[in-house]
């Protein structure tokens, strides 16, 4: 029982990271209908930048916001310089560009910082408190930081005029232009926010998976699964999907182990966790393509 609670708690902690990544994916998807395959590598690159600042002995809570800001600028620049000229290009060309971006960030990280695995210190103090048998301080920190971030984003989109303009641009770009909104900049801003969000996600997960250029490849897959579970056009759903996928992933491993102990048959264990994400993706796409919280869309033809 205790182990089950532990698994759920750490599932929620990983889920927080999946939720952030899923939200970053959704943020770009709702305004451009593109899935940014490079989202994970951009997050990885940001995590390396934080690590570099830490090596230069910057305090973590200065390094992270600085890198989030730099990532925001990189996100805006990628949109303006690379995707803007391609706005009328067919969707396959865009996919190729995303894969190119993925490779670029991947190779740049390897070239600058090397391919060896690096230890990434947790920024959260190691203290014990009630219930700390179930969940570690870093995991609580992951959940707390993500929650704060999501709350901030929610407030930004709900309460500020700029957030409202971004929502309007995503929903009806032609109409937003007719309201005098500079829609092109809103798209770039969405890219920037997604990149900043990815930076935080990458940095939070780095102490768990360790720092290396491949660190985000599996995690991005979970991010996709989370976004799909929640409905790819639904920010709130993406967050819920992140936590659902995080917990499901751990439970699959947990019950797989139990079953193996009871019957001696090995079906799924910790090694197959990544498969869980893929099974979720396939299940959602076949059973309920619009996701748990998404709206089914009809199109007049």
């Amino acid at each position: 029982m205790e182990q089950l609670i532990q698994q759920i708690a750490s599932g929620l902690a990983n889920g927080a990271v999946y939720a952030s990544l899923a939200l970053a994916l959704v943020m770009i998807f709702v305004s451009t209908h593109h899935i940014n395959f490079a989202q994970g590598e951009m997050a990885m690159f940001s995590a390396y930048m934080v690590w570099q600042l830490l090596q230069w002995e910057a305090p973590f809570w200065i390094a992270l916001p600085t890198v989030a800001l730099v990532s925001f600028v990189i996100g805006v620049a990628v949109e303006r310089a690379i995707l803007r000229p391609l706005r009328h290009a067919p969707v396959l060309s865009i996919v190729v560009v995303f894969i190119g971006l993925l490779t670029i960030f991947h190779s740049m990280a390897g070239a600058i910082w090397g391919h060896t695995i690096k230890d990434f210190p947790s920024p959260f103090p190691n203290m014990s408190f009630v219930g700390s048998g179930y969940i570690g301080p870093h995991q609580i920190g992951m959940i707390a930081v993500t929650m704060l971030l999501l709350l901030g984003l929610f407030a930004f989109f709900r309460l500020t005029p700029l957030g409202l303009a971004m929502r309007a641009s995503a929903q009806n770009p032609a109409s937003a232009r007719l309201a005098g909104i500079r829609v092109d900049w809103m798209l770039a801003l969405g890219w920037g926010l997604a990149a900043a969000l990815g930076a935080v996600a990458g940095t939070l997960v780095a102490p768990v998976v360790f720092l290396e250029p491949n660190m985000m490849s599996g995690i991005l897959l979970y991010g996709f699964a989370a976004a799909l579970v929640g409905g790819i056009d639904n920010p709130g759903g993406a967050v819920a999907g992140g936590f659902i996928v995080g917990v499901l992933e751990n439970l699959a491993g947990y019950f797989g182990n139990l079953m193996e102990k009871a019957t001696g048959v090995y079906i799924v264990g910790n090694g197959e966790k990544l498969m869980v994400a893929l099974v979720i993706v396939i299940a959602v796409l076949t059973l309920k393509p619009s996701g748990l919280f998404g709206r089914a869309t009809a199109r007049r033809v």
Partner: protein
């Protein structure tokens, strides 16, 4: 008097297809001008050209200033409120948010508040619907919201694309009545595209009849109304 809007030798294109051929007309400040014609005559295209939503050649001047090369959002900021075909409602946003989005480009808060009150005065029903999701409004209410969004820009010129489309006659009457009030009270000039020629000629002081992308007749509403040949061949009544 200098023209508020001046369109000179305007060509417009959708891909390779030319939709307008040398359209020229002018609109005096304070007036209401109607663009009439059958389906595909180029009425909507003319409005879209003014807001740079299609590829054009020729010149379009607002207060004597050429606007052809400006992006849509900058033309809007000069004071052109476009009520688009299909109303352009932000369906997932509330009515209140729709109105706030419309005033996004403005920095004059007090004047925005006054315009908000003016909108409520013209369309009291919207004040009751503020918290409602705009997509759930009736067609007539969405049309009122579309006109209100344009009003929140504090425009000098309003481009109206078939405000009567798909609405019950009694609702159309109401909206046209309010458009006249907007024109006289808020001093907004209007360029009106309508299929319903009778209705449009009642409201407008001038009209231009378009056929296959060309202006075939221009004049005061009265002249056009009384020209039997034009009426029979282009306006269909």
């Amino acid at each position: 008097m200098a023209a508020l809007l001046e369109v000179e030798a305007l060509d417009a294109f959708y891909g390779q297809t030319q939709a307008l051929h040398g359209v020229s007309f002018a609109l005096a400040p304070g007036g209401i001008t109607a663009l009439l014609g059958a389906n595909g005559a180029g009425k909507t295209t003319t409005l879209r050209s003014i807001c740079n939503m299609v590829r054009t050649q020729g010149s379009i001047l607002i207060d004597g200033r050429p606007i052809n090369r400006l992006p849509t959002e900058e033309i809007v900021r000069i004071g052109v409120g476009h009520v688009p075909e299909g109303r352009g409602t932000f369906t997932n946003l509330s009515v209140d948010e729709n109105l706030r989005v419309a005033a996004y480009s403005r920095r004059d808060r007090a004047a925005c508040e006054r315009d908000r009150e003016m909108v409520y005065e013209f369309f009291p029903i919207l004040k009751q619907r503020l918290a409602q999701q705009a997509g759930t409004l009736s067609g007539g209410e969405q049309q009122m919201l579309a006109v209100s969004r344009a009003l929140m820009l504090s425009p000098r010129l309003m481009l109206l694309d078939e405000p009567s489309f798909g609405l019950a006659p009694i609702v159309v009457q109401e909206i046209f009545h309010i458009m006249r009030r907007i024109n006289s009270q808020a001093k907004v000039s209007m360029l009106l595209v309508e299929q319903n020629a009778t209705l449009a000629l009642e409201l407008a002081d001038h009209a231009h009849v378009l056929e296959t992308g060309r202006v075939v007749m221009s004049g005061t509403s009265a002249t056009i109304k009384n020209n039997e040949a034009i009426r029979k061949s282009y306006l269909g009544y």
